[in-house]
Symmetry: C2
Subunit: 354 residues, 2 copies
């Protein structure tokens, strides 16, 4: 009863389906445990039955097959530290405001996924010459309230992405079987793409010779640059270069003196090359110190910056990450009607008192 222990929790955005943010500002380790990994669902959780421990591969393959968890455990392993970020992360920051789940900064988490590269897996089935995409279907289904339709969750990957050596069908997370809420027993893990590509509860992989047109890649997870028209729309894929300032917290009140500014930065193309901070609204930029705790192409980096606040007053801190492809966080967000890929320069305000 007399419990003094203090810990953060997931932040609830909705319960049916369950959508919860990671308390990312309050986590200090580079590997996030299940209990703090963000949850983003389209439907209620599926019930895990014996049949879920199988998935099938069919379509444009020379040898259609069904695989059991035990089969996968016999295959070569691939283990990668990888972040997943929801394409709607930071949606609440768009101006004008955008409808949908009002994610703040916590729809991102990372940890070690382990499984089999699809490139190895497809050795067992072969691929026909006309194979173009692989359609992944999850065991999750139900009414999609925003569409008023009963659906299952299905998305495709082009063959080139699917056969990247770090695109894996994972069965472990942080050396434990994947938990139900995160896709047990099999979750597709797609490096560098937003999280909607990493299909949970994988039921089947269907190799097709055409461009798959499911609603989760032709209606949702599409950038629509205009409010009233669908022209110039294009699909959401690669994670944008991005960052957050973890400390101090936005709108906090601090004492004069030295403060360590801390955060993380990440990208879906190459690596984070540089993180810069500005205290003069972007006129001049100073380089933060980057620490990559664990070597991985797919993880965020931590950064710190020591700053001494000499004078009381209100300060605006800007932070931008720049990746090895020279993509930098922009001064203006790319507004799009469904609110994906927000990566405007990160900003906090603090008040320094005497």
């Amino acid at each position: 009863m007399y419990n003094r222990s203090v810990r953060p929790f997931l932040t609830t955005r909705s319960l049916a389906p369950e959508n919860q943010e990671s308390p990312i500002h309050f986590l200090t380790k580079p590997i996030i445990s299940y209990e703090y990994f963000y949850l983003r669902n389209h439907f209620n959780y599926p019930t895990l039955k014996e049949e879920n421990f199988f998935f099938s591969i069919g379509g444009e393959v020379t040898q259609p097959q069904t695989f059991h968890l035990y089969d996968l455990l016999q295959m070569p392993k691939r283990k990668v530290l990888m972040l997943l970020e929801c394409a709607g992360n930071k949606r609440s920051k768009f101006e004008p405001k955008v409808y949908g789940e009002q994610w703040e900064e916590g729809a991102i988490s990372q940890g070690v996924w382990e499984g089999v590269s699809l490139k190895d897996l497809f050795q067992y089935t072969g691929l026909k010459a006309q194979a173009k995409e692989i359609v992944f279907e999850g065991y999750d289904f139900g009414e999609d309230k925003s569409k008023g339709k009963y659906l299952s969750y299905k998305r495709s990957l082009p063959l080139s992405k699917a056969l990247h050596e770090d695109t894996i069908i994972a069965y472990k997370y942080n050396d434990q079987p994947i938990s139900l809420k995160h896709g047990a027993p099999f979750r597709l893990i797609v490096p560098h793409w937003y999280g909607m590509a990493s299909v949970k509860w994988v039921k089947s992989m269907d190799v097709v010779s055409y461009s798959f047109q499911g609603p989760y890649q032709t209606e949702d997870y599409v950038y629509y640059p205009y409010e009233d028209s669908d022209i110039d729309a294009y699909p959401v894929t690669t994670i944008n270069v991005n960052s957050i300032i973890k400390a101090p917290l936005n709108f906090s009140i601090l004492k004069k003196g030295e403060h360590t500014i801390k955060g993380i930065a990440w990208t879906g193309m190459g690596n984070v090359r540089k993180v810069e901070l500005s205290l003069d609204h972007g006129q001049t930029w100073m380089e933060a110190k980057i620490e990559q705790e664990i070597k991985s192409h797919y993880s965020w980096v931590s950064w710190t910056f020591l700053w001494e606040f000499h004078k009381p007053g209100e300060y605006t801190l800007l932070c931008r990450a720049i990746d090895s492809h020279n993509r930098a966080q922009p001064m203006e967000a790319f507004w799009n009607r469904k609110g994906y890929g927000y990566n405007r320069i990160s900003e906090i305000k603090v008040k320094i008192e005497g």
Copy 2:
């Protein structure tokens, strides 16, 4: 491991000291259990020792005394369903933005507090004629980071408020001993005032003949109407008339047709007399149906309103509560520098799809 249960959590605002919001939008019962009761602290939690089970009464009394929990259990009981709301609740909504903990709508919770009326308790000590205020000190102490000083938490109540029959020194919450995080073993419970008055971990009550000038009532918990000046400042006391819309969630996307709009409303003066909704930016108002689940002067009321959305488009819903003293939520928030008492008309936007 295969846990499908879905539940909300507290939302973390800071961990040292611990400040966490109630997931109020996702709770349906009128009585909030400990695990969902908001947490608002000035310091780290005190360690509970044998001595904490005593508090002393001194100062301008005829008979100074120390009381043990067992003494209180022998006295007449007072049991009240009462809400507590942090004075900073909704602070994040102020425009221009205000520094400090960025509470959204969940720094409010309610349940059944049980203990002894101070009016009965002070029968045992008597009060001298010059008694003017009672200063309550908690066992919590430490560095107040915004002040750069070591302090304990102390606040006073004027005698008239302290001796109201529903101002109690509580030792139970929802029929259980109060948990450490909420003030065990003794918490002052002050009806109709914002939560800062309901001192936790009560250590002493000091009756004084003057106006107590502690920082938690002369620096913090003061309305400062101007950014650069302290003129016209006055202390935060009574809870403002207020409401929240619990469903639909802000910026949600809904299908055409009938939807039940739901929320709660409360006040620190009298009762909630009426809750009204507007779909035309405040030109016309329609009355919501109020349900008071449990009879209490100090609890919120639930309200519902059935509305049919005929046409796709974006809608703004406004909600205002009006109390029995004819206080209504205003169209403009009363801006104040430290961000207390926000009670502008509640607002959500929803998008209706065909």
